[in-house]
């Protein structure tokens, strides 16, 4: 793939790129399907339940069934809603979630694109999803939805800043915003991985990322107990599915990003394990992060909204700024 990217663009190349895109789409969709299944299973185990087990062997087709159900469900748009915006909102939420996947390198060779501004690309696009959420909340013309949308927007912009700033440490270390370069920089054993020198940044990033995903313990926008369902209270059928889809695609993206930025990407934890292909390592790290996210959901209670905002601005932001200093001084000494 990197070689193809270097070449002159021909129709053949274009076709390959397109095919790659379709493959990625399918992979992502597949991931979402089984991530949901996996989540339900994980939470089930943790709560000493079985989890889905009816549809298909071990309940493996449960999610597929759910999707089909949503597809067949009647889809109503409230009369008072702003129709066009109401239709657009889930689409706007979904598109950036998928496009950011293009920036993530799976291994040295297995990349979709090799953008020099990878980090920025991710950050910039993921911000657009917020607009979709606010739009959805507003277009529903419903009090719950509006408040949910606003809340989610406030939360997302609040955590966006620590997220963005915490990444700066890794950018400084590798001197590039290219995700592939950042991953390459971490070659040679886990002590070279960014999460060690960047431990503050790593923690901030993880917390902020969970919040960005609107997942427990930060799932306030869709807090059932307060706002019924938050911004998608009026959504049903496949429109609702796209909100959900976007959320899980982001899980995919964030897990990939974390792996690349902090966990050494496709590199083995010890040099002698290099014989195992990079993709395996990547998937291992990736899966463990996904698992952790589900684990958090099963374990932690939801925080209060003022705690949420306070955490973002008063703890994470100063910490992430501190991280820059620490990194800079560390590098100045190391150099």
């Amino acid at each position: 793939m990197p070689d193809l990217l270097q070449e002159q663009l021909t129709w053949t190349n274009f076709a390959i790129f397109f095919a790659w895109g379709v493959v990625m789409l399918l992979v992502v969709l597949g991931f979402v399907t089984y991530a949901i299944y996996f989540e339900r299973k994980v939470i089930g185990w943790m709560q000493l339940r079985i989890g889905p087990n009816r549809v298909g062997p071990l309940g493996l087709l449960q999610s597929v069934a759910d999707v089909l159900k949503l597809l067949l469900k009647e889809d109503t748009i409230p009369r008072k809603a702003e129709k066009e915006l109401f239709i657009f909102a889930p689409v706007i939420t979904f598109i950036p979630a998928f496009v950011v996947v293009a920036a993530i390198p799976f291994t040295d060779r297995l990349i979709s694109s090799n953008l020099n501004v990878g980090v920025l690309f991710y950050v910039a696009l993921s911000g657009i999803s917020t607009i979709g959420i606010v739009l959805g909340g507003w277009a529903s013309n419903n009090k719950y939805a509006l408040l949910g949308g606003m809340r989610s927007a406030a939360q997302m912009i609040s955590y966006e800043i620590p997220l963005v700033i915490s990444v700066i440490g890794t950018v400084m270390m590798s001197g590039s915003m290219n995700l592939r370069t950042i991953a390459e920089f971490q070659a040679g054993g886990f002590w070279h991985w960014n999460f060690l020198p960047q431990i503050i940044g790593f923690c901030v990033f993880i917390v902020a990322a969970v919040s960005e995903l609107n997942r427990t313990p930060f799932d306030l926008p869709e807090a059932e107990s307060e706002l019924v369902a938050g911004y998608h209270v009026e959504y049903s059928g496949f429109r609702f599915a796209f909100f959900m889809l976007a959320e899980y695609v982001y899980v995919f993206a964030i897990a990939g990003l974390t792996t690349t930025l902090f966990l050494g990407g496709w590199h083995a934890p010890f040099p002698f394990l290099d014989f195992i292909p990079g993709i395996i390592w990547f998937l291992l790290k990736f899966s463990s992060i996904v698992f952790c996210l589900f684990w958090l959901r099963a374990t932690l209670p939801r925080v209060r909204v003022d705690q949420l905002m306070g955490l973002g601005w008063k703890v994470l932001l100063p910490l992430s700024l501190l991280n820059i200093f620490v990194t800079a001084i560390y590098m100045a000494i190391a150099l």
């Binding site: 002159q8 008072k80 293009a102 529903s140 509006l146 912009i157 306070g310």
Partner: protein
């Protein structure tokens, strides 16, 4: 060809658009359509909706939006600096310290002025 990267991105974007369109079209073709007046009312926990849907919300949202705008834009300056930090040397650190210190002053200002305090909805 660096352009190729953006061709890929465009392809992803295209796919991202195509998927909802196809999915929703297929859904439209498959799903039932049985309209009833009550289905189209705004949901309000089962009651008749009271007042308009676009209620006035807390002024805090604006304040957070403002804070976001300021800090987000300031990071624009942090990124180029971070990329080039290795080549810039120690003095750049001092400069960035000043910059970040000023940002922190802004944060403290907001903090002390109770902008970060969330009240009610």
């Amino acid at each position: 060809m660096y352009m190729n990267n953006y061709v890929v991105v465009t392809i992803f974007l295209f796919l991202g658009v195509i998927l909802p369109i196809t999915a929703l079209s297929i859904g439209k073709w498959l799903r039932p359509y049985k309209p009833a007046e009550s289905k189209y009312t705004t949901y309000e926990s089962g009651n008749e909706p009271v007042g308009g849907g676009q209620v006035r919300f807390n002024i805090r949202y604006y304040l957070f939006a403002l804070m976001f705008v300021i800090f987000d834009v300031e990071t624009v300056f942090l990124y180029p600096w971070a990329v080039a930090y290795k080549q810039l040397g120690l003095f750049a650190l001092v400069e960035m310290c000043i910059f970040v210190a000023l940002l922190l002053v802004g944060l403290i200002y907001a903090w002390k002025k109770k902008v970060l305090q969330w009240t009610s909805i």
